[in-house]
Symmetry: C2
Subunit: 114 residues, 2 copies
Amino acid sequence: MYSSELIKGTLKTIVLKLLTSQEKMYGYEITQKVKTLTGDKIQITEGALYPTLHALEEEGVVTTETVYIGKRIRKYYSITPKGKSKVEEKVNEFSEFMETMKFLLDIKPQTGNV
Amino acid sequence: MYSSELIKGTLKTIVLKLLTSQEKMYGYEITQKVKTLTGDKIQITEGALYPTLHALEEEGVVTTETVYIGKRIRKYYSITPKGKSKVEEKVNEFSEFMETMKFLLDIKPQTGNV
DNA sequence: AAAGATACATAAGATTTCTATGTATGCAAT
DNA sequence: ATTGCATACATAGAAATCTTATGTATCTTT
């Protein structure tokens, strides 16, 4: 498990990206998928996910569809065209950010005053 | 400039790493160095930096030395041995995190129900 | 003399996430 | 049958982090 601060700021990107890989997913499914895909390294908590999904819906980047599985409710999320361009932006930005960080974190110590 | 959320959680890592590259640095110098090194892509604000530096000092990963340049004060920060092992940990963790994210953000869309 | 850069610092607010809690169903084991 | 675990939604309060704004003061350049 990564220290949670690292994951901050990437949650929306992860969720949107996942929603481009499948036509629709529901909240609980997203938490499990991320857990599995990352070998338990990233765990999205429900307390973080659900408010985020609601925010994404308000932004118009996902739409919902409520389904009953027996008596249990299930809320499917799908990405909108607006969401598709958004996720592309976000992924590109994150890739650039990673390059910058790689460079920064590869700085070598100066040799002392020889 | 990156959207600020991305940078969250990486400030301490950046600062500590920089302090391994030079024997000592002062706050303002750190902001300028990061700005220069990243081509203005990452800008550390003073409101974020100073509290962080104070926290790092409390954690015992940096020590300070106050110097007068004329009448103007300057506070130099140096990394401690404890800080050196900390920064190694943090850089490793971030590298792993980047690998995980790369994998996640490279997921391909499923072909539809053909 | 004014403006901009240097150099420190803190406080209020925004944002994001975590922990905890709540409700409820379905299923498996005792 | 009932206890416990997994599924599935949701929100509220607390914690952490960063931004914006403000404050003080010096130095340098125009």
